[in-house]
């Protein structure tokens, strides 16, 4: 099966006059198929966001190739991005517009006509339970609603690939679960999702495959279950959660990460 998103030998080196060159991403390769959610898991500074920005074409990679639906993002950014939806780590909602107007406005950047844009926006706001806020400015929305709106906006062009950079950071548990349900539904509808996170539970709940990224390199990649079974085993793990208080719990991705890197996730 052909990949919706293909990343080959991606390398990004930041150069500056004052500092030594910093290798943020070092030879990363992966594929994401239609209907698959692929997670990049790692701590802050591991290279997740840089990889995401190279995938969207926002950063020019030092080396390597990124293809969306077989289209080279660097050579043909306009064509490639017609198939791409992006929900960045930062809140980049347009505070000058109402919820509905910014959906329509954003659609214009994909060359979508006003009538079609309005129809898609209504449909998406309904699906993301934001219809009641259509006439409100972004400031009136809660954190969870803002995040949902960002994802809804990223889908206005009906992309084949959705890039989500730490989509639930800062959200309360209820808002996080609502967003997970929405993303699971999108994945079932055939969307290829590339997701970066540092939340273990999020990666285990959403991702078909997870790549553990550390110091710019993928150090292991598989389904969460296989990674855990391979690296930790199936038996319970002992953990001292407070001084003198030990528990037995099932192994998780954090255990895998600790074993592979010796570092602790935030």
């Amino acid at each position: 099966m052909e990949s919706s998103l293909s990343v080959r030998n991606l390398r990004k080196v930041y150069r500056s006059k004052r500092h030594e060159p910093l290798v943020a991403v070092d030879g990363v390769s992966f594929d994401v198929s239609a209907g698959e959610c692929f997670g990049l898991l790692g701590p802050n500074g591991a290279g997740k966001s840089t990889t995401m920005k190279c995938v969207t074409g926002f950063f020019e990679p030092t080396e390597g190739l990124v293809e969306i639906e077989g289209i080279d993002v660097q050579r043909e950014p306009k064509r490639a991005r017609q198939h791409l939806g992006v929900c960045s780590q930062d809140d980049s909602l347009d505070t000058d517009f109402t919820v509905f107007d910014q959906m329509v406005q954003f659609a214009s950047f994909f060359g979508i006509g006003r009538r079609e844009a309005e129809s898609r926006s209504r449909e998406l706001l309904e699906r993301f339970q934001l219809s009641s806020k259509a006439g409100e400015l972004v400031e009136a929305l809660s954190g969870g609603m803002r995040r949902r709106l960002q994802v809804a906006r990223a889908l206005v062009n009906r992309p084949r690939v959705l890039v989500l950079d730490e989509p639930t950071t800062g959200l309360d548990p209820e808002a996080r679960r609502t967003l997970w349900e929405i993303l699971a539904e999108q994945r079932r509808s055939g969307l290829a999702i590339l997701l970066s996170t540092h939340y273990m539970e999020e990666a285990e709940r959403l991702c078909d495959r997870v790549a553990i990224i550390h110091r710019g390199r993928i150090i292991d990649c598989d389904t969460p279950e296989k990674l855990i079974a391979r690296e930790i085993g199936r038996g319970p793990v002992d953990e001292e959660i407070r001084p003198g208080v030990k528990i037995h719990r099932p192994p998780n991705l954090e255990d895998v990460y600790l074993k592979l890197t010796g570092a602790r996730l935030e």
């Binding site: 017609q82 960045s88 980049s92 000058d96 107007d101 214009s108 950047f109 994909f110 060359g111």
Partner: protein
């Protein structure tokens, strides 16, 4: 989406915001120059009467009115490029959001420059209209002046974008505003002929772009003596500032 349509789409985004806040836009665009016109043109103009400048005898009101074109477009283009650009880039992250769509960052920045320049042109056009209606400007001169005014708007918008790109905080935009823009506005001949300055002052003012703009505008609108160096100087200022501003803003956005 080809290049032109992409740039136009960005321009339309800014125009939509302007249209939504039309009262604010009208007040900030039109009220200030009209107040200056009332105070300096009609108030001080009545006291001073006629002056000799550019080889012509003109009313002080007409002289100031032509100067207000430069002031208005300087402030409008610069402020929108600097403060508006900083807000859109830094706080709203609009450039970042658009540039992962089929509209590239390069096109976003062209759209931004075009919008800030359009605002300068719009505000200066109001002064042209007032001057034409009052009979101080020749109508044909107003029409011919428009492309020159737009060129200067592009320059001052570029300077604004360059300042926005180089400013760590929105407050630090005040430095170039007070140290470069305000002195240029005060000493480039908006309110008085440059011949009133000491020779060294005239020498400095003569190389500044606002002086060049005012020279061309007053030649076209008031029939002042043609100064051959003015338009080439304005062009010479504009050409390097466009890539400087775009590259600086690109580096800042992608950093």
């Amino acid at each position: 989406m080809n290049f032109y349509r992409s740039v136009w789409t960005v321009w339309l985004r800014h125009y939509s915001v302007f249209r939504k806040n039309i009262v604010y836009g009208m007040v900030t665009t039109f009220v200030e120059p009209i107040l200056y016109l009332g105070s300096f043109g009609f108030g001080l103009g009545a006291v001073i009467g006629n002056i000799e400048a550019g080889g012509e005898q003109v009313s002080y009101r007409a002289f100031v009115l032509a100067g207000l074109i430069g002031q208005t477009l300087l402030f409008t283009s610069f402020f929108d490029g600097a403060y508006g650009g900083f807000i859109r880039m830094y706080y709203q992250k609009i450039f970042q959001a658009i540039s992962v769509t089929p509209v590239t960052l390069s096109e976003v920045l062209w759209g931004e420059l075009l919008w800030c320049s359009s605002r300068g042109l719009l505000s200066a056009s109001v002064i042209l209209l007032i001057g034409g209606v009052l009979g101080d400007f020749s109508w044909w001169g107003c029409v011919v002046a428009l492309p020159v005014i737009f060129l200067a708007s592009v320059l001052f918008a570029s300077v604004g974008m360059l300042v926005a790109a180089g400013s760590r905080t929105i407050e630090s935009i005040s430095y170039p505003q007070y140290l470069v823009i305000f002195p240029m506005f005060l000493f480039c001949g908006v309110y008085f002929p440059l011949s009133q300055l000491p020779e060294w002052g005239q020498a400095i003012a003569a190389v500044l772009p606002l002086t060049a703009l005012l020279s061309v505008v007053r030649t076209l609108l008031l029939g002042f003596q043609f100064e051959w160096w003015a338009l080439p100087l304005l062009v010479a200022w504009t050409i390097p500032f466009i890539p400087l501003a775009r590259n600086a803003m690109r580096r800042r956005v992608v950093a």
